[in-house]
Amino acid sequence: MTSTGAGVVAQGVRRRFGDVEAVRGIDLTAAPGEVTALVGPNGAGKTTLLLVLATLLVPDAGEVRVAGFDPVREPDAVRARMGWSPDVFGLYDNLTAREYLQFFADAYRLGPARAKARAQELLDLARLAEFADRPVHVLSRGQKQRLGLTRALVHEPEVLLLDEPASGLDPRSRVELRDLLRALAAAGTAVIVSSHLLGDLEELADRVVFVDRGATVGEHRLDQLPEATVARPWRLRALDTDALVAALTRNGYDHDVPGPAGVDVRITGDEAAADLLAGLVRDGIRVVSCQPLGGALEAAYLELTQ
């Protein structure tokens, strides 16, 4: 698959439900070949935005293009090129995993022979081949989640919208999901993932869009996250904890009571961290490790969403 798609462009999207304005001005772009993370607190409007992109909801306002088409005026063209996996979904009881995938292959008009082959491909991909002919309702939650995800891939979409795909997955499946999404992106798919697992996203995403209370509050490449302007905890460990604490207190740093893992110090930005470390070394404290608590993404998240 070569990257011919146009990805996703959304500008000024608004959508209200009665008197709740779920989305009030989200801007987002997702380029083909990239994984874009959609991050924000509960109720920020991520699911609502994805429903708009997935041709299920009409936005009250805003310009939206998915794979180059307008989801409101040309939903079928979008559907042919877009795969969507919701955060919660049901599977049909009394249907085997294979039948489930084949049904969706039919629904996407793949043709009988292709449908059969594609179902097998996806079962292998999701490591569900051994459950292929068992009823889906006996699958575990994570297995169901994987099956639901592969359903979104049935027609090899050029835009993939995933709403919290990693929830309920074991660590190994999460690594596999990451690898799968990276592979799809490498093949030219525009992937949008909403997730609360920031650690995972850090290794998965190329770009991140922060949303809060229905609006975009930041859109960054992951390697260009904004400089911290608010104090965040960093964790320090030294051979002599008492001397470390004494040195911190002497230099007026805001620190916690030391625990078995080390001492947490609130500092602002990488510059300040480097200064602190240099000072401690100068004071003869033998520092073993110094690292921010939570990743850079988490820091940026906490900074942008109040």
Partner: protein
């Protein structure tokens, strides 16, 4: 909308239905109830005093079909009444809506699966229909028409139930309302007809002229006093206050009733052939009397009755007058007036209106369902999430 899309959805729904339900048990019960009914009906016909019924098939078939309709109206609403909102509750609707299946594909596929299931129930009655036909007298044309009409009526109920499942978010509500809709079509139309008929009952004045019999027309032994009285009143105008119900204004309330449609649509039986009449006379001369099944034909009888309701009552003053012997006690005669409304001259069919109405309602229901399934959606019912 595409045949492939509709077939995809219908097949899927059918497969899920077959795997989910205890169909063999359900169909067996259905069949057993019908067999029981048929046996009882047959036995009841045998017990018509000592008169045998000719062409029993007419009665058995008619009774069976009305019974099948009644029983099916109890089963069919359940087939579609939770189709859309049930999928929404289980979280399987939105994933279907983002595929290349159109809203019409989903709607018609679900409808086809529900209707197909209803037709399976109909199909199971086939052995009993064959039995009824073997009992003689049922014209093939009647079987064909009744089968088609029955199928259309069940389709209507499926479509209405489906629309309710698309309109309401709770499966229990749509289930109850589907049965209420069937109740409205069957009992509701009857009640509406009955009540409005009472309202339209109007008084009218009937006047007639006493006839003038010639002296020779009166019985020879009529006492002179009475004879004089009759001849004196001859030519006088008498008026009577009567009431009549104008069912010709309210008959259409009955038209959507499935039973009315089915009975009235069934073609009337052909009149007895000359050979049959001769046979009957010969039988009667030998002392063998048969009850004619035409007189107790359930479909034809109901149809004729409904058609009669459609006609306006006979014009005022067209009453008939007769003389009859009052009783042997006094040994005398009296003139007696009998006012009878003439039987309607024509009996125009009612079922085309009813069937057209029901089919139109079904089409409307399917249209509403498609509208509700169409995405992207602008308005969501309160408290309903897409996914």
């Amino acid at each position: 909308m595409s045949p492939h899309g509709i077939a995809t959805v219908a097949q899927q729904e059918f497969r899920l239905r077959i795997r989910a339900g205890r169909w063999r048990v359900l169909l067996s019960i259905w069949f057993a109830v019908l067999v029981l009914f048929t046996c009882l009906l047959r036995a009841a016909l045998g017990g018509f005093s000592n008169e045998d019924v000719a062409d029993k098939g007419i009665v058995i078939y008619g009774g069976l079909m009305l019974f099948v309709l009644g029983l099916a109206l109890l089963v069919v609403p359940a087939l579609a009444a939770q189709s859309v909102n049930g999928d929404r509750e289980r979280g399987t609707l939105a994933t279907l809506q983002v595929t290349r299946l159109s809203a019409a594909d989903i709607c018609l596929g679900k409808f086809a699966a529900a209707w197909g299931t209803a037709l399976v129930f109909l199909f199971v009655t086939l052995p009993l229909v064959v039995y009824a036909i073997a009992q003689k007298g049922v014209p093939v044309g009647r079987v064909a028409v009744v089968t088609v009409v029955l199928a259309l009526l069940l389709g209507t109920v499926c479509a209405i139930s489906l629309a309710l499942s698309a309109l309401l978010s709770r499966t229990t509500t749509s289930g109850v309302l589907a049965y209420l809709a069937v109740f409205a079509l069957t009992v509701g139309t009857l009640i509406a007809f009955g009540l409005t008929t009472a309202i339209t009952t109007e008084p009218y004045t009937s006047s007639y002229q006493n006839p003038c019999p010639s002296a020779s027309q009166l019985p020879q032994d009529l006492p002179q006093a009475q004879r004089d009285q009759i001849l004196a009143g001859c030519g006088q105008t008498q008026t009577f206050q009567e009431t009549r119900s104008r069912t010709d204004r309210t008959w259409w309330l009955l038209a959507p009733n499935p039973f009315v449609i089915l009975a009235d649509a069934a073609p009337q039986l052909p009149p007895l052939t000359a050979a049959q009449k001769r046979q009957r006379q010969a039988d009667e001369q030998r002392g063998v009397f048969r009850q004619d099944a035409r007189d107790i034909d359930p479909l034809g009888g109901l149809g004729r009755a409904v058609r009669g309701l459609r006609e306006p009552p006979t014009a005022i003053g067209r009453s008939t007058v007769g003389y009859s012997q009052v009783g042997p006690v006094s040994g005398g005669y009296s003139s007696q007036l009998s006012i009878a409304l003439d039987p309607p001259k024509r009996r125009r069919p009612v079922w085309p209106y009813g069937l057209a109405f029901d089919v139109a309602v079904a089409a409307g229901a399917l249209w509403v369902t498609t509208r509700r399934l169409a995405t992207p959606s602008r308005n969501l019912p309160k408290g309903q999430r897409v996914a």
